[in-house]
């Protein structure tokens, strides 16, 4: 039929585009690692295996990621249980604060920690001042520092997944367990945990992949401690391009291996189909001491969660060069923010990030929508391949894609689909697009699967053509999913550091790079002001996304 043919042609073109953008650069990296000046060679692979620091970086990546999963799970899961089961003073307020780390883009979180817990940060200066020490009491460096940042920023995944899993449990499950004589421990062990496995698995997978790809924390705090993403950048800075490609390939394999090992787990909203259980009644905490304890712990936690944000805000008012050894900055000014607006050189990154993220988000939404309609609705034969390519960038660390795109698009060979884009305006939006595709793709696919296909058929029987059905029926109903996917995509692109650092040009330098260079020039105030802008925009976009998602 004509409709089918057209859909299949469109799907073929889309598949080609995705393969060119997502798969092709990765394959080129794989191949380039085996190519020397005189043809094929195993030299670089041999080098990779011979050098001790390569193995160390790979091992570092692996154990840091596993340790992050354990830490984040250790914080996020009990917290989720606490909020789900118990009533205590301040429960609502705290519940809102718990997701706060999510509004800090990776680099911003890292510099907030730097200002807060670093050698010349508030806490260490405070401790130094209180105890009259000559030296900073600790150094925020190495694996411990990385893990601290990871635990802070990634426990949210476990918390949210566990909450979602718990909220899909129906009270009748517990009533049944109780009527069958199961005590609290046995109910937890035999009923609740098995039902939560998919959620916990989903949280673990997301945390592991994020930790494996984490770049900002190791880059700023790593010092001599290397993980693979920072190792790749270092190798590339040394000019050992081919070796960097072998490293990139090894990190990719590690990521795909992890994904394959955890392939059985699915996120709860994928398997749950949106059915929501009636939650069991909250248990109020009655004992006075327990209430006190929970209140103190709770507000302590809130403080810990909020401190990085507050720190950033405070530091953003510090004039350049005025804060050295005092526990608190002696002077405050609005000038940092004014600079961002008035100085064209300083305002540029803000504008850059805005248009880069907007463009990448818009294209990512459009591609996801097209892919969704073709694969979910028209059920084209290439649907599986399209969906895989759409989600692939989620599994592959950002560093890898940065290297892959830098490799693929630094050569002029139009027949091979390669153009010189590195050093131009186009490479960053393209890189952001790749990183955004899985986010919009997931949202749109899930949204479309949730729509009753008979709505489309109803529109068709009522004489609506393809375009009118899309505009009047599909898009309005899909709006919550589109907004959710777009806001996630925008925030990711807006705060991106890992791909930007390798692909930016002076004209397209984004906010994250400007933060880094301000930091290098010890202009902490401006760095923090940029950080606050990133944080505020992220929070705003998330809030809009949540609002639209719930009312749409």
């Amino acid at each position: 039929m004509k409709r089918d043919t057209r859909a299949n042609v469109a799907a073929g073109l889309l598949l080609l585009f995705l393969a060119w953008l997502v798969l092709y650069p990765l394959l080129l990296v794989l191949i380039e690692g085996f190519r020397g000046p005189d043809g094929w060679t195993f030299d670089f692979v041999r080098q990779f295996f011979r050098r001790r620091n390569e193995a160390q970086a790979l091992w570092g990546s692996l154990w840091i990621s596993v340790a992050t999963v354990v830490l984040a799970g250790g914080i996020g899961v009990p917290l989720a249980f606490l909020f789900w089961r118990y009533d205590f003073p301040g429960r609502r307020t705290l519940g809102g604060l718990v997701a706060l780390p999510a509004v800090l883009p990776p680099l911003v979180g890292v510099i907030a920690f730097l200002f807060l817990y670093g050698e010349s940060g508030f806490t260490s200066l405070l401790v130094q001042w209180l105890f009259g020490l000559d030296e900073p009491p600790w150094r925020l460096q190495g694996a411990a520092a990385i893990l601290l940042v990871h635990a802070y920023s990634m426990y949210v995944y476990f918390y949210l997944f566990t909450r979602a899993g718990l909220s899909s449990l129906d009270a009748s499950v517990f009533e049944a367990a109780a009527s069958l004589g199961a005590g609290r421990g046995r109910t937890l062990r035999r009923v609740v945990l098995p039902l939560l496995y998919p959620s916990l698995g989903g949280g673990a997978l997301l945390t592991f992949m994020t930790a494996l790809a984490s770049f900002s924390a190791p880059y700023i705090f790593g010092g001599g401690f290397r993980v693979m993403p920072t190792q790749i950048v270092a190798t590339r800075l040394n000019g050992d391009d081919q070796l960097a490609m072998v490293e990139t390939a090894s990190l990719t394999l590690l990521a795909l291996l992890a994904l394959w090992l955890l392939r059985g787990v699915r996120s709860p909203n994928e398997q749950g189909g949106g059915r929501k259980g009636v939650p069991p009644a909250l248990v109020p905490i009655r004992s006075r001491t327990a209430r006190m304890l929970v209140a103190v712990l709770g507000w302590g936690l809130a403080l810990v969660l909020l401190l990085p944000h507050l720190t950033l805000l405070l530091v953003s008012f510090v004039p350049v060069g005025t804060w050295t050894t005092e526990p608190f900055p002696p002077a405050y000014t609005w000038r940092n923010y004014l600079t961002l607006i008035q100085d064209p050189v300083r305002a540029r990154p803000l504008l850059n990030s805005l248009w880069l993220a907007t463009a990448a988000t818009a294209v990512a939404v459009a591609v996801a929508l097209l892919a969704g309609i073709l694969t979910v609705r028209s059920r084209v034969r290439t649907g599986g391949a399209i969906q895989s390519l759409l989600t692939l960038p989620w599994a592959v660390p950002g560093t890898v894609f940065a290297i892959a795109l830098a490799t693929a698009f630094s050569v002029h060979a139009p027949l091979a689909g390669r153009f010189i884009l590195v050093g131009t305006l186009w490479i960053l939006p393209l890189a952001y697009l790749v990183r955004d595709l899985p986010l919009t793709g997931r949202a749109v696919l899930a949204g479309l699967r949730g729509l009753d296909p008979s709505l489309d058929e109803a529109a068709a029987t009522l004489g609506a053509g393809w375009w009118r059905t899309l505009r009047r029926v599909t898009l309005p109903l899909l709006r919550p999913a589109l907004v959710a996917g777009a806001s996630l995509a925008f925030v990711t692109a807006f705060g991106d550091f890992v791909t930007s650092i390798m692909l930016y040009t002076y004209d397209t330098r984004p906010i994250s790079l400007e933060i880094l260079s301000s930091l290098r020039q010890s202009d902490v105030g401006v760095a923090a002001a940029y950080g606050v802008v990133l944080m505020a925009v992220s929070a705003l976009v998330f809030a809009v996304g949540a609002e639209q998602g719930s009312t749409g």
């Binding site: 039929m1 409709r3 009753d452 008979s454 709505l455 058929e457 109803a458 529109a459 068709a460 029987t461 009522l462 004489g463 609506a464 053509g465 009118r468 009047r472 029926v473 309005p476 109903l477």
Partner: protein
């Protein structure tokens, strides 16, 4: 000349033949029920009619037009979906207007025709209501109004009553029937409930495993079922293996559980002499104390239905028969005999036993 014709339609999904050479014809204004258990191909047949599926072979014709390859819109068929498929983000009026807008109707005429369609389903003035505020029955009527507003040539309904609670069904059934009659539109609807098919359909097509078993008026199907399946699926009945012996002086002679019966009153038979299955309505049998010539068994269940009771009897031969009798004739656990009632009235049908 029939208004709507399905000619030799077949549709295969993978290994299963969902619709197997089905041919049907409808007169203008006729209501046809597609009746069958799940997996019988009735929904696929409806979707082939609507144009959502393309048949592997066969044709669909409306007024001599071949619409087999025509897109759903261009067929000008209205459809009421099982879960209504009302657009949740549009209000009632916008839902009903949707199909009219496709035809380019606008302005004053649009609102008039929306109002007329809503009046037709007794929902006048409901234009600005949200879909979520409506009851199930009202949603169903909005779906009807939406399908009818563009004045389609044929109305298709997919299990129109399955989403309503039983108390509402009978009333809604009546309302739909009256509405279709009033509009005079040729209609095809799918159902798996015989009562619904009989009540709403002028004729009923019984489908099984993708094949058309029989099509006819409810009376035809009940009185002269063409196959054992139709006999059992349509109306209450039970079956028992018998041997057809041949014609006797007072009627057809059969052997059943070691005794011989002569079926005097209008038993229909498509079975030659030899092993056969007897499908029998409860009212075509009667209970009595075990006697010469009766088959005997134990009452296992009694269901009171008002003027009579339905008794389930497990015979000594192991068959389970449903027999209608006076409300309190016998109690479960008692032994009883069974004979054909003197006026079986076409309630007994014999079909050749399936070949092993």
């Amino acid at each position: 000349m029939p208004f709507l014709r399905l000619e030799d339609l077949s549709k295969r999904f993978g290994a299963t033949l969902a619709v197997d050479h089905v041919s049907l014809a409808l007169e203008r204004g006729e209501i046809l029920a597609l009746l069958g258990p799940s997996g019988s191909g009735k929904t696929t047949t409806l979707r082939l009619l609507a144009g959502f599926e393309v048949p592997d072979s066969g044709r669909v014709l409306v007024e001599q037009d071949d619409v087999t390859a025509v897109a759903p819109v261009a067929r000008r068929f209205g459809m009421v979906f099982q879960h209504y498929a009302l657009f949740p983000h549009l209000d009632v009026g916008q839902n009903v207007a949707f199909g009219l807008e496709s035809l380019g109707v606008g302005g004053e005429e649009l609102s008039q025709r929306v109002a007329r369609a809503l009046t037709l389903v007794d929902l006048a003035g409901f234009e600005r209501r949200r879909i979520g505020q409506l009851s199930g029955g009202q949603q169903q009527r909005v779906a009807l109004a939406r399908a009818l507003a563009p004045e389609p040539r044929v109305l298709l309904l997919d299990e129109p009553l399955s989403n309503l609670d039983p108390a509402l069904r009978e009333r809604t059934r009546r309302e739909i029937r009256e509405l279709i009659r009033r509009v005079g539109i040729t209609s095809v609807f799918v159902t798996h409930e015989q009562e619904e098919a009989f009540d709403l359909g002028d004729r009923v097509a019984v489908l099984r495993g993708g094949r058309l078993e029989q099509v006819g008026t409810p009376e035809d199907l009940y009185a002269t079922p063409a196959t054992e399946f139709v006999a059992e699926f349509v109306g209450r009945s039970s079956s028992i293996p018998v041997t057809v012996l041949g014609p006797g002086d007072r009627g057809l002679r059969i052997a059943v559980e070691g005794v011989e019966w002569q079926l005097t009153d209008g038993a229909s038979s498509s079975a030659p002499a030899g092993p056969a299955t007897m499908v029998v309505r409860p009212e075509a049998l009667r209970l009595l104390d075990p006697a010469p010539g009766s088959i005997n068994g134990v009452i296992t269940q009694r269901r009171f239905t008002g003027s009579a009771s339905l008794y389930t009897v497990v015979t000594d031969g192991g068959a389970s028969l449903e027999v209608s009798g006076p409300p309190r004739a016998v109690s479960p656990g008692q032994r009883t005999g069974i004979l054909p009632s003197r006026r079986a009235g076409g309630g007994i049908h014999l079909f050749p036993a399936p070949k092993e």
